[in-house]
Symmetry: C4
């Protein structure tokens, strides 16, 4: 996990932690959260006929939509986390705590996903479920941005990282937050449209679009 | 997780990512997906007599068959993923995204496995369940092949890897796809035969057969 | 995971184990335990109206309280574990076994959390549930302290670690235990107050308070 | 995860795999299997009185016994696996496959544990459940021994490992197998005694007894 050199280097800077375990623990939580989502996919109960099973699977589409959106969002957050830690030289105790707070919302996501899948077809309750879901995505995205800005602020980023790369990453983490805020409002009137919007945001991060490139 | 040298080396090549976290995150998802399968094994409910419990366990065979096939397939995919990353020199952002797409289908597999276990004895619905299961295996296998071919195409493979080894790995990843396609057709007429065929494919990758050796 | 140098060094000291796998396995168990907690969050069942869903979510507050306290406690234990292994030079077989015992209580925590969520509003049974929960936290905290003290006693800590740092960490791990003991008594009379107290203890470790700083 | 040196070294020996991912994937499966056990601990359902909850928890003892025995056994298997990989210089493809087979039985263990917890108080069916449980432990233990013997046979062990250490580890892995075989027979007549025997075997590996020391 670490060479002797690294360990010795850390001991010269008390209070600073290696980034290795931050990454290993985070990878574990991201991997488990993304994989647990499948446990909430309901198997339709119908033993009558073949077409009925196809219909029954089709009827479960809100569950599958929530599954895909949450998987894509956790995947996008992991890519962002990965891009950030790639620039980290070291981690201090505040960064470890911000990371735990981010992981709290990542590992919490299966719960609003379940709420969403359960209530999205329910006329009255779907607005509550979709708003709750959107707020969780917004907070998780905001914490990833805070995580990165704190690392910059506390000079935990590798000195040899290019200014341009750093600006690019900062810009890349920001627009999603405004979009989440807009979609939470949209979701009060058009819940399904908001959920599809959340999928589009995740895809924006997942697909290697080069919008900011000059 | 990485030495200082590695980190510095990465910083000289912006946009390139280390393979360490790709492997760690993937290992996490593979390990969780393969271990979650056991949660869907149903404990037979019978409190009457000893022979009844043996009979009841025997009656649950479709669940156990799906469990074994899915475990063997995830194990085979992990071996293939392992073999590929062994040749990787570095990872770019497209490779990370292809990897996420592959992991999506790996972590999704418990769901068609549950469908299969539930419906394989059901006269009408088993064709739908077996076809859905086979399509998931085909897509996962195809994505592993795409993952490898992209790595070759984008020159992410270590320069000192032998051409012969690379050809061997490429050949090894291909025939399974044709077999999956054939078995999906077979499954429309003989569902159980198709599932046993999926087990044979996984075993072909798991057992150290040296068919291509000269 | 390890360089050749590290491996060779280990082979010269039979009976000593590398700390790499201790950390990897522990990170896995911590990450899984912290993420599994979300599975026990109950989705309220109400399809009547929007306000009813908000009310129903509100009614589930004991489940959410238990979830937050357990998440914060596992997070705090992980931070402490992380701080300790940061000072480890090597691990002997007794340390590996103490670690397994600690992980036993970490991975057991979802069970008393479920008991707590189920019974905290129940007039008669809540004292049993809260006491059981508190005892689990006390034992886990005590084992983390024993883990650290054993490492010091068996001279497994890096020789170049400063005495001041070591004393700070030892002091940091101790006061929580006395607080847990007090709160277990408090919980016999005011169960909810005790649970909030457990949250405060976890927050004390999670927030970067510098009480011991001169 | 690996330094450049390691990677280059591997490329000179085609067909050989690094042990890093073998360890990472195995740690993942061990960690998940050991942590999933807690999901099967039943929360007793009783809302009547405080004493009733204590009684109800007491009534669930077979579930807790199975949990403790399985946790201790997976912990002991992990320690053994850890001890073995500590001596590994490299891994070939057969070792990776033997490892997958071992992990199959490790990740399968929650199922017989559930059977055991469900049926141990059932007069007729407990013999089936206990025998099935014992056979799973025997096979897992035997595969760990095969894993080690194959590594020795295929000369995958570090050349500088002392003969005495190797003999000690070989001896340490063997007696458990005979004990498992005896206890499976005992379980046909005294099921609970066999389960307690399985706990003793796991404790024998977990506790740092130095029986073989001269």
């Amino acid at each position: 996990m670490s060479t002797e050199d690294e360990t010795s280097a850390t001991s010269d800077r008390p209070g600073l932690r290696r980034t290795a375990r931050l990454e290993a623990f985070s990878d574990g939580v991201f991997a488990i959260a993304i994989t647990l989502l499948v446990l909430d996919l309901a198997v339709p109960v119908t033993k009558t006929s073949e077409n009925h099973l196809l219909d029954a699977i089709g009827d479960e589409w809100p569950g599958y939509l929530g599954y895909v959106v949450s998987f894509a969002t956790v995947g996008a957050l992991w890519l962002g986390h990965n891009a950030i830690t790639d620039y980290l030289d070291r981690a201090d105790t505040t960064l470890l705590r911000l990371n735990l707070l981010l992981l709290f919302f990542v590992s919490f996501l299966p719960f609003p996903t379940r709420l969403l899948s359960e209530y999205i077809r329910s006329d009255q309750a779907e607005r509550v479920a979709v708003t709750f879901y959107g707020l969780t995505l917004l907070v998780a995205g905001a914490l990833l941005s805070v995580f990165w800005r704190y690392a910059l602020h506390a000079r935990l980023v590798r000195p040899n990282a290019g200014d341009e790369e750093i600006t690019l990453l900062t810009h890349r983490l920001t627009p999603g937050l405004a979009a989440y805020a807009v979609l939470i409002i949209v979701g009060l009137f058009r819940p399904v449209a908001a959920v599809i919007g959340y999928l589009v945001i995740a895809m924006f991060f997942l697909l290697p679009l080069r919008i900011h490139r000059r």
